[in-house]
């Protein structure tokens, strides 16, 4: 009930929030795909007589994900930083507005907490991207 009540007010913030990262990621994905599609093994896959869908989804996509994963780690802190402006515009009582008010009121413990949290999130982002490397590319292993 509560969620149902809130949903309509989340549409605009979510669109503005995701659009920036969405454009950024799709541009990097495009460069990665262009790089991969001209590789030899894609030609091999086509020469084997595989369908275009299978070539793109199975052979090209996984390999072109590598650069996207690299920037994936930096999306986390960007998300917190970017949320300040969006939360101020839409008056969402989230972490961004909280830290914004903390900064204006010189509430140092709060500021330090948020910085620590975002640093921690970045580290988690690096970890996740390192793990995803191994998932996407079987040649990479951490032993």
């Amino acid at each position: 009930m509560k969620l149902k009540h809130r949903m309509p007010f989340l549409i605009l913030p979510i669109i503005t929030y995701t659009y920036g990262s969405f454009a950024f990621l799709s541009r990097i994905m495009r460069v990665g795909m262009i790089d991969v599609v001209s590789q030899d093994y894609i030609r091999t896959a086509r020469a084997k007589g595989l369908g275009e869908g299978k070539v793109i989804l199975k052979h090209a996509l996984r390999n072109s994900l590598l650069p996207v994963i690299t920037v994936f780690a930096s999306i986390f802190p960007m998300a917190i930083g970017g949320s300040i402006i969006i939360e101020v515009i839409f008056s969402i009582p989230g972490m961004g507005v909280e830290v914004y008010n903390a900064i204006l009121n010189y509430d140092y413990p709060m500021i330090i907490t948020v910085f620590t949290l975002s640093g921690f999130l970045t580290m988690v982002g690096y970890l996740v991207s390192d793990l995803l490397y191994a998932v996407v590319d079987p040649r990479i292993s951490y032993k």
């Binding site: 460069v31 402006i85 204006l104 975002s118």
Partner: protein, 454 residues
């Protein structure tokens, strides 16, 4: 495969023009092929012209005025100028103080107004409360009657709540936005290129010095920062509140103090060089720089900048310096990557085997070959610096209230959502500027690095 054909193409061009070929010409030819980028470059030129001539495009003082037989050039005079006006018979008429005189109420015999006859800060009290661009606007003529506004004096893009002209604010905001991009990225590229070049060139093993000298250098840098910035913070903030000139001088003194103390501690290490302290150790400068970059990257940039601006003096120059000091990481990373590639190339090895000093090798031989990708990163950086400054002034932090920027205009629009012109026009201005820079950066990346071409 694609880059192979590209290289073949390059080779063919080389054969066609043989000795006249230069990489700059080739890159420019490639850049010109991208029509959108070329248009962006011209638009950027227009923006620069607007920024340079902003006081003569939008000013509430006339460019040229004839008053009681005196010829005046009010827009070109300084703000504080005060003239005593005598008429043709030599009788005293009145005292004109240039910045507070309402020139529209004077009986000027002939006058040339600026294209937009309003200053960004001047309030038109007959068009308060959000006068719409196409709506009804009023005007007080030189006889003192309130009439419908003449088309020359219309607020073509509307006004805000206290009657400030939007078009004028936008034109003066161009100046600030372009300056923010240039100054902050200038600082960022200075720091980023030097640190990135050192990290990439020396790596973790190539820079060697005696152990005691290494320790003393680290200690000296620490002490230098303590005495240069820690102890001088009140002097610095006072100097910055006096004016930007004093601030920069105080800043240079601080940097000098840091360098001086570091050198002093290095000299102090001379007599201590014996035994185990004299052993040569390699300095992991690459690790220092890389971990520093990661450290700075793990803190959200906007948050960091807001925190710093909340503590220091409110000034547009300090905003530029802070943006510069926090956004060098991308440039440093690109420079480091280029130097890792270049340091194993023949010409660098040749320079080293000829006995050139490291500084000469880095700055004279390696750096010119590493700059192309760095330029691209700087162009993207300018766009994001402008965006950050707009975000800051939108939140109302850091920029003084009397300075009109695109972000602060947007913030005015948020207070009254019916005043759509206060949202659309500044938003468009920010959007167009950012897009121009991104287009130029993308096209120059394609032009400078043929392998990336899609």
């Amino acid at each position: 495969m694609q880059w192979l054909t590209q290289e073949f193409h390059t080779n063919r061009i080389m054969q066609n023009t043989n000795e006249n070929f230069s990489f700059k010409k080739y890159a420019w030819a490639q850049f010109k092929k991208n029509k959108i980028a070329l248009v962006s470059l011209y638009l950027l030129l227009v923006l620069v012209i607007i920024a340079v001539f902003a006081p003569y495009i939008a000013n509430d003082r006339p460019l040229y005025a004839e008053y009681e037989g005196n010829t005046l050039y009010p827009a070109f005079a300084s703000d504080t100028r005060t003239d005593s006006i005598y008429n043709a018979e030599g009788d005293f008429v009145r005292v004109l103080q240039y910045d507070i005189t309402d020139w529209r109420e004077l009986n000027l015999t002939s006058v040339v107004w600026a294209p937009i006859p309003y200053s960004p800060g001047s309030m038109d009290r007959y068009n308060r409360d959000y006068a719409a661009p196409g709506g009804e606007q009023r005007f007080k003529n030189s006889d003192g009657e309130i009439i419908d506004i003449p088309s020359k004096f219309r607020h073509k893009l509307g006004t805000d709540g206290i009657g400030r002209d939007l078009a004028s604010g936008l034109i003066h905001g161009t100046r600030i936005s372009l300056m923010v991009g240039l100054v902050s990225m200038g600082i960022a590229s200075l720091i980023g290129i030097i640190l990135g070049a050192m990290a990439g060139f020396f790596g973790d093993t190539k820079l060697k010095m005696p152990r005691i000298k290494y320790w003393m250098t680290l200690f000296g840098i620490f002490m230098g920062f303590f005495y240069g910035f820690g102890q001088r913070k009140y002097v610095l903030s006072e100097a910055f509140s006096e004016g930007i000139g004093d601030g920069i001088i105080a800043m240079l003194i601080s940097v000098g103090v840091v360098i001086g103390i570091t050198i002093l501690f290095r000299l102090l290490s001379k007599p201590l060089q014996f035994g185990i302290l004299k052993e040569e150790v390699s300095i992991p400068i690459d690790t220092f720089v890389s971990r520093g970059i990661e450290l700075l990257n793990s803190i959200p940039r906007l948050l960091l900048i807001i925190t710093i601006t909340a503590v220091v003096e409110r000034s547009i120059w300090i905003i530029m310096i802070i943006i510069g000091l926090t956004s060098w990481t991308g440039i440093a990373r690109f420079t480091r990557a280029e130097f890792l590639r270049i340091r194993s190339l023949e010409f660098v090895q040749a320079a080293e085997s000829l006995g050139y000093s490291s500084i000469r090798t880095i700055f004279k031989h390696a750096l010119p070959n590493a700059l192309a990708p760095v330029f691209v990163s700087i162009a993207f950086g300018i766009a994001s610096a402008i965006l950050i400054e707009s975000g800051l002034s939108f939140l109302g932090i850091g920029v003084p209230d009397d300075i009109v920027t695109w972000g602060s205009l947007l913030n005015l629009g948020r207070q009254n959502l019916e005043a759509w012109w206060l949202i659309i026009y500044p938003g468009m201005a920010i959007f167009i500027t950012i897009t121009i820079y991104n287009m130029i950066a993308e096209a120059s990346r394609d032009a400078l690095d043929p392998r990336l071409k899609s």
